[in-house]
Amino acid sequence: MPISRRSLAAAALALVLPLSACGSGGDDGGPTDASGKVEGDITFQTWNLRANFKPYFEDLIADFEHTYPGTHVKWIDQPAEGYPDKLSADAAGGTLPDVVNVSPDLVAPLARAGLALDLDKAAGTYRSEYLPGAWASHRIPGMKGTYAFPWYLNTGPLFYNKALFEKAGLDPEQPPKTYDDLFSDALRMAEKSDGKVATLANVPTIEDFGRYGVPLMNRQGTAFTFNSAKGVELLTRYKELYDAKALDPQALTATPESAGKKFLTGAVAMNPGSALDLGNFKKNAPSLYRNIGITDQITSTGHVNMYVMGVMVNSRTRHTPAAVAFAHFVTDARHQMSFAKKVAIFPSTAGSLDDPYFTKEDGTDETRVRVAAAKSLKNAVNYTPVLFSDQMKTALRNEVAKALQGRQSPEEALDNAVNAADRLLRQG
């Protein structure tokens, strides 16, 4: 059967035209007004929660669908690894779920791209239900509005190996609290173990600078400031640790997983983690589990770092009332409280931390850690600047590594990191 060139060209055009639409995303979303009947099918995406909390979320969704007949929630869960990449692919492809589990640094680029619903406008009436600091954690410098409901909070415990502390002649019941304590204990540990046991497995992050008391950004949110004298002082002290092998030699290439493994094998004496790690220690390192110590994050400001999880509403959802209602439903006081009783997280709703569950000890380690963490949360600070992107984190990490290797001074390293971060900030 013959075919003309014109027909062939038309067929090729028909093939190419749909492709040219790829990646443009859709801007034909629904209304941004959350008032109206709560109905319709929505999608809810969580961040690595299905494996441990499947029954909780299934009950929660069933409860919502029962409360609001005519709604249907499809729950999807993404693995922890590569979550930002998954979000960016969905956002660029116009397939972002209606309700999304986010952290403040993830919500910032989505809000700037107009993909996050401004909850000050759409759900401002709920604001008083949450702790003021938690509600403010999803505000973006340079933008008006709040772009996610605050969900659960955590400070993350710091684990330490009591046996290694004891071997180094340190009091295992008195772990370091401030950076000054940490530096002196770490140097002593390295000296006593002849450089075989490091105290830390990670290079300082932006949160370390924050907890050391370094101002991270200017008030306007237009430039980073962690290259101040205080920042240089922190990096200089980390260099001393690195030279003395008090900071693991492989810290420059460490990932959270590799650092965790070092802690398991007793090569490192302290490591940050989560409540879920205790089960891992019990199973994979019983001798470590018998000697495990749990303490608060190291801080010289009196404030620990608070990690905030949020629930964002896609501004292009076709069912804004249902999406907002569901995001609020997930994060309201009743559900946050019931979630907190399943795992060691803390509610961001006003008054919840005064519940006896978070204030009364019953003599077990579990309640001791919980009560202490809830207490420290009351004046915790979210030190991670919401505008500090992954590229900025890499720039800081690389410059810090060069300083630790002695290839540049701490001052030069931080100046370079700030310049790189500022340049990325300006590029949007």
């Binding site: 003309s4 190419v16 930002p84 990449d85 660029a92 700037r112 030699p249 492989q250 990932t255 590594a401």
Partner: protein, 295 residues
């Protein structure tokens, strides 16, 4: 006259129909991404922000980007380190196993096993082996050499990743050489032996010329693969690309720059265009060197 002209202007449909599935897949997954990358390289597009045309700004910027030069250096070093090993070692391995003696299939399969193993699994195994407290360092310490920071020193890390690439690729290229060796006429070896040539002389004067075109193919394939290396270095040096990012390769830089919610898609596309141009140049260089040799 009109009828024959009409026939000439017509194209038969059947061949196009047969080719359509392939064309569709190629268009969607090769041609479109390629053209899209090319177009993006002249824009300041970000993951969530449509780009504006910026001319050659991205290419000018990468000339002043230290990390670009680090990536380019490491990718070239990878080619220099890996390609000679992957041209010569699989040939020697193929010579070892191409004779049909009892039990040889076991060795052929054993040498081929790393090729079918997942690169992630292989990478993790080597990370455990080369760790400061891993098996290799324990052995080195036991024989009095002391521990070596394979994974903490910039150059040792790159060398370790190259070793893994060579180890994993040996079996694949060995199979290609086995096919080539099967076509070398036995008479040539016999004639050389009658003329008094020893094994080394026979290898250099008979085997190598006979498999020369295969060696060129292996050089071309392995140089392209080596220049585009990602997994081995990423797994062994970590997402940051080794200490201070000094082991970053160009493809790692593309991934790091262009992905995530704040990814600089325009700049990463410009980097990808450079990778493409260098890869094509490498292929042409190898083929040109071969033609010169032939003439």
């Amino acid at each position: 006259m009109a009828a024959p002209l009409r026939i000439r202007r017509q194209l038969p449909l059947s061949p196009w129909l047969f080719a359509a599935p392939g064309l569709l897949i190629t268009g969607a997954f090769v041609l479109y991404p390629f053209v899209s990358t090319l177009v993006n390289s002249f824009t300041d597009r970000r993951t969530l922000v449509p780009g504006r045309f910026v001319g050659l700004a991205n290419f000018r910027e990468l000339l002043h980007d230290d990390m670009f030069w680090t990536g380019l250096r490491n990718s070239f070093l990878y080619v220099l380190g890996v390609v000679p090993a992957l041209v010569v070692l699989p040939l020697l391995l193929a010579l070892l196993v191409h004779k049909n003696i009892p039990g040889i299939t076991f060795f052929r399969s054993a040498f081929y096993t790393p090729v079918v193993a997942s690169i992630v699994v292989v990478g993790l195994i080597w990370v455990w082996l080369l760790d400061e407290r891993g098996l290799i360092n324990a052995l080195l310490e036991a024989i009095g050499i002391g521990r070596i920071g394979f994974l903490s020193d910039q150059w040792l890390l790159l060398l370790s990743a190259m070793a893994v690439t060579v180890w994993k690729g040996l079996g694949y290229y060995m199979i290609i050489y086995l096919a080539a060796l099967a076509n070398v006429p036995r008479e040539l070896h016999e004639a050389a032996a009658v003329d008094g040539a020893g094994p080394v002389r026979r290898f250099l004067s008979v085997t190598v010329p006979a498999v020369r075109s295969t060696m060129v193919l292996v050089a071309a394939l392995s140089s392209v693969a080596a220049f585009k290396v990602f997994s081995e270095v990423y797994l062994m040096a970590g997402p940051s690309g080794g200490p201070a990012g000094e082991d970053t390769t160009l493809v790692m830089l593309v991934q790091r720059t262009g992905t995530g919610l704040t990814g600089r898609v325009g700049y990463a596309s410009a980097l990808s265009v450079v990778v493409f141009v260098v890869t094509v140049a490498l292929m042409l260089l190898v083929l040109r060197a071969d033609r010169k040799e032939e003439s």
